[in-house]
């Protein structure tokens, strides 16, 4: 086909040259001269052929190259515009890419296990909707009854003391059974999994290391497998090392130990402490498994032959969900909201750029007119605008990737604890694809904007317009863009404002104690080196005495569960003069063990009765309860002197309540306070003659193998650190100091996700404000330039500067008002999506909305001020002469 065309062209050109030559010969030229002249008249034959071929084939490609070249050339000619445009875009695209990296890694990417969709996380739900772990009998019964799962594993995550490189260190460990490893189905990098018999009661002391722990703490020793390491004072043989990045429920597990459940725990039906994870059989759909579980729950009691605390439909039930849902949980909404917020920032950036390009298009009307005149069709002009937009957005995207890369690093360093699956976050092909898509879309969108602003692509009117000196053809386009920017900024600033309010509310929640000038750290005493309760109490006492005598420390005490956020550890409790209504569990939510002086050290007010005293150490068993306890169980009844009894075996005595303490937060500052009972550490052996610790192992927290030391001191943790390290080393050099922190930092940590949201939101809102301000400024300065003549005349006629100033600022504020109204309306709808992320502030909080309106108006007024002042400086004479 192409050959024919080429031959035809060849023939046509040859005939043409022949004819021309013949004509010249006829006019008296020599044959040779005529041929030469004919060729000269024709021009470059080769180029002609190429040009013709281009019409056939490469036209569109050539045009693209041409358009891009042209775009690059024009952009190079205005470096100021190009820099602003590329940076604006880069910020928008970079921020979007960074947040999308997080969304992608944390929410969208499947978990790194084989066939992760088969994995289900199993939990229990109490009648009041509280999600909880599974008790040992429930777990065993599930494994025996179910038909849907190929294997169901159990695990408990906690911490251990690890002796490595001649130093003690605290490490996160998961006690897992062999079934769990089978369910996860990830083979170890070296060595082997636990065998099933190793994860039974009385099994051997074996351990599997995470790749990361092996590399960092154990110096990546090649011969690690087969060696032994000391964990909680016991030598464990290392049997395997897991591959890099292998984790469980995002707990950042460093060490895997066998879960060796004592058969005796099968009697503790209401002691929920196991996390349970199952893998569905091949070909079993999740819905099928859920149906089966529901039917099991319906007849659980019959099947296992028990009554009391057994699953019943609508009451205490077992449920399942995809593992990823459990991991991401509440973070999902937070990150989608962030993604939406950062998307709005990009929209504002686009609006700003569209505005810049419209302004440029107005300046370039003559250029467009001339190009139309010399044959550029509307399609070509369009292509050129899009090419310019694309070149800008691709440049912006490229710089944006750099910004995103920096941003992701900053995010993971700043918020390592607040982002799920933080180790998985990378800028991978999916993210780059996203960036490319966003870049191209923005390019097309704002590249087309100025064209829409041009009248139908006819040269005449354009040139005419200019000569008549009229103002912009469609000024409303730019104004609408700016009003839109303001509206989007309003939405973002409102979101940021609500988050600020939320964090402020969280930070000022009365947690029930004086958090400033309080330093805390933990010590954990392994059962191997502290086998008896007395030995543990002795060590705590030694530390308390040592710190009590230390200069700069005004008070010292210990507590088992660190407020304001700690593990739920309640269980069924008998309470005098209280009969629980049917279907309501009579559990106390939190049990707390303290040493004397705790309430004084913490500054927790005692609202009734008294606190523990030294004489109580050897006296009759006594307890302090919190206000929530009294409200729940003894409403209207005098609590002092009444008795409670934890249902933990038959030998537990009744314990007399001696005081009521003010409510202290335990489940987090944003949660309601649960019922709480305080015991004195020294009395525990008498309250629990059979301390449940040995039966339940170290996960129950009941052996008091670990306590938090509270120090009341004006000195910060960093200053106290050497003295604390000395004291602990002197008491026992094998004990690591666990999380030595100021209490203020504990609080800050406990609200780290809202804080992260607030900070990122505030950053995006700031960016949005800046962009909207630039947009307002741009439109107004353009307007002032356009109306110089008019302003000049007015001033010549005696208009005062103040009036000119007011007029221009008024124009700015009018635009802002339109944007503000639209923005508040949008915010009213959109902020509802944030409702679950807020704390004690409603999405349409009037105070926040008012503050946002005030802020936006102030920013708009400031942005209008510069062009307004410029307008007052218009020299009437110069302005008039100009025209």
């Amino acid at each position: 086909m192409k050959k024919d065309r080429d031959e035809e062209l060849e023939h046509e050109i040859r005939t043409h040259l022949d004819l021309e030559a013949e004509e010249r010969v006829a006019n008296g030229m020599s044959e040779t001269d005529a041929r030469y002249a004919a060729r000269r008249a024709f021009g470059n034959v080769m180029r002609t052929k190429e040009d013709v071929r281009a019409v056939w084939t490469r036209r569109w490609l050539d045009e693209i190259v041409q358009d891009v070249r042209y775009a690059l050339r024009t952009l190079r000619k205005s470096p100021g515009f190009t820099t602003v445009a590329v940076l604006t875009l880069a910020l928008g695209i970079g921020a979007n890419t960074a947040i999308f990296s997080v969304v992608n890694a944390a929410i969208l990417q499947p978990l790194g296990y084989p066939q992760p969709e088969q994995l289900r996380f199993l939990t229990t739900r109490s009648a009041d909707g509280e999600q909880g772990e599974v008790s040992a009998p429930e777990y065993f019964e599930l494994t025996e009854l179910n038909q849907s799962f190929s294997v169901v594993g159990a695990f408990v995550v906690g911490e251990v003391n690890l002796w490595a490189r001649d130093r003690p260190r605290r490490a996160t460990r998961a006690r897992v059974n062999a079934e769990l490893l089978e369910a996860l189905a990830v083979p170890p990098e070296r060595g082997r999994w636990f065998r099933r018999e190793e994860t039974r009661f009385g099994g051997p002391a074996v351990a599997i290391l995470s790749h990361e722990l092996w590399r960092s703490t154990l110096a990546a020793r090649e011969d690690m497998v087969g060696q032994s390491i000391e964990i909680d004072g016991v030598r464990h043989e290392v049997v395997g090392i897991m591959p890099p990045g292998f984790d469980l429920m995002d707990k950042r597990v460093e060490l895997w130990l066998p879960l060796q459940l004592d058969p005796a725990v099968r009697q503790y039906r209401s002691s929920h402490f196991l996390s349970v994870l199952g893998r569905l059989k091949n070909g079993v759909a999740p819905e099928q498994a859920e149906e089966e579980l529901a039917s099991l729950v319906a007849s659980w009691g019959e099947r296992v032959g028990v009554s009391g605390h057994v699953f019943t439909p609508g009451g205490h039930v077992m449920q399942m969900e995809p593992v990823l849902d459990e991991i991401v949980g509440s973070a999902r909404r937070a990150f989608w909201v962030l993604q939406a917020a950062v998307g709005l920032v990009l929209l504002i950036a686009c609006a700003n750029l569209a505005n810049l390009l419209v302004a440029r298009a107005e300046v370039r009307r003559r250029e467009v007119a001339v190009r139309t005149a010399i044959g550029a069709g509307r399609r070509r002009l369009l292509a050129q605008f899009v090419a310019e937009g694309l070149v800008l957005s691709v440049l912006g995207g490229a710089v944006g990737v750099v910004i995103a890369w920096t941003g992701v690093r900053a995010l993971t360093v700043t918020y390592p604890e607040s982002i799920p699956r933080v180790a998985d976050i990378t800028i991978d092909p999916a993210v780059l694809g996203f960036t490319l898509l966003v870049s191209v879309m923005t390019g097309v969108v704002f590249g087309l904007a100025p064209l829409g602003h041009l009248p139908e692509g006819v040269a005449g009117p354009l040139l005419n317009d200019r000569t008549r000196g009229t103002t912009a053809t469609r000024p409303w386009v730019r104004r609408a863009l700016v009003a839109g920017e303001v509206a989007l900024a309003v939405v973002l600033v409102t979101g940021a404002g609500l988050m600020v309010r939320t964090v402020l509310n969280l930070m000022t929640v009365d947690a029930g104690f004086e958090r400033s000038r309080l330093v805390t750290f933990g010590v954990a005493l392994p059962a191997a080196t502290y086998p008896t309760f007395d030995q543990r109490v002795q060590l705590y006492r030694r530390l308390i005495d040592r710190f009590g005598a230390m200069p700069g420390i005004d008070g010292v005490s210990t507590v088992s569960g660190l407020p304001p956020q700690r593990e739920h550890n309640g269980f069924g409790t008998d309470t005098e003069d209280y009969t629980p209504p049917p279907e309501v569990a009579d559990s106390v939510d939190y049990y707390q063990t303290v040493t004397s002086g705790y309430f004084e050290t913490m500054g927790i007010p005692i609202v009734r009765g008294r606190t523990f005293q030294r004489t109580d150490r050897t006296g009759a068993p006594v307890a302090v309860v919190n206000e929530a306890f009294v409200r729940t169980f003894w409403k209207g009844i005098k609590p002092i002197g009444r008795r409670v009894r934890p249902r933990f075996g038959d030998q537990t005595p009744w314990v007399t309540v001696i005081g009521v303490a003010k409510d202290v937060k335990q489940a987090g500052v944003d949660q309601a306070t649960g019922t709480e009972v305080y015991f004195l550490l020294d009395q525990l052996p008498r309250i629990f003659p059979t301390i449940p610790g040995p039966q339940l192992g170290d996960w129950s927290g009941w052996g008091h193998g670990s306590m938090h030391i509270m120090l009341r001191s004006a000195l910060p943790a960093a200053t106290l650190q050497p003295a604390i390290a000395d004291a602990v080393r002197e008491a026992d050099p094998s004990l690591p100091i666990i999380r030595l922190r100021n209490m203020d930092d504990v609080f800050r940590d406990s609200v780290r996700r809202p804080r992260m949201l607030m900070q990122l939101f505030a950053g995006f809102a700031g960016l949005a404000l800046l962009l909207a301000a630039i947009g307002t400024y741009g439109v107004l300065s353009y307007m002032v330039t356009q109306h110089r003549h008019e302003i000049g005349i007015r001033m010549a006629l005696g208009a005062e500067r103040a009036i000119v100033l007011r007029t221009v600022i008024g124009h700015g504020l009018k635009l802002t008002c339109v944007g503000l109204v639209a923005g508040l309306a949008a915010a009213f709808v959109l902020t509802r999506l944030m409702e679950t992320l807020l704390f004690e502030v409603r999405p349409n909080d009037p105070a926040t909305l008012a503050a946002v309106a005030a802020l936006i108006t102030a920013v708009a007024a400031t942005a209008s001020l510069v062009p307004a002042v410029c307008a007052t400086r218009v020299d009437p004479i110069v302005a008039l002469r100009d025209e």
Partner: protein, 108 residues
């Protein structure tokens, strides 16, 4: 007299205008443009062919190989209905441009 290069885009207009009087081959078109503009517009003959192809592609003209009286195989170009319409559009557009250019270029 210095050669006046024909600006791109106008060449198509000139070709359409030339073909209004009847079918013609490439060389004939070139000659006609030159002659009717009193040799002011020097069409580089080679540039004619890409323009012809563009017009053909957009459906303004068609072409056919024909035998001339002198026994030559010639490719003859012919105006289509669409080409006629395009010519009137382009012509008015051009007139407008000329007027506009004159105004712009006129010293103030």
């Amino acid at each position: 007299m210095a050669d006046r290069k024909v600006v791109q885009g106008t060449l198509e207009l000139l070709i359409l205008r030339t073909l209004l009087f009847g079918p013609l081959h490439g060389h004939g078109i070139a000659k006609h443009i030159q002659r009717t503009s009193d040799d002011v517009l020097q069409v580089e003959h080679g540039s004619l062919y890409p323009a012809l192809r563009r017009l053909e592609k957009s459906g303004c003209i068609t072409s056919k190989w024909e035998q001339t009286d002198r026994g030559r195989e010639m490719r003859m170009y012919r105006l289509t209905v669409r080409g006629r319409k395009q010519l009137t559009i382009e012509q008015s557009r051009w007139d407008e441009l000329v007027r506009a250019m004159a105004r712009v270029l006129k010293p103030v």
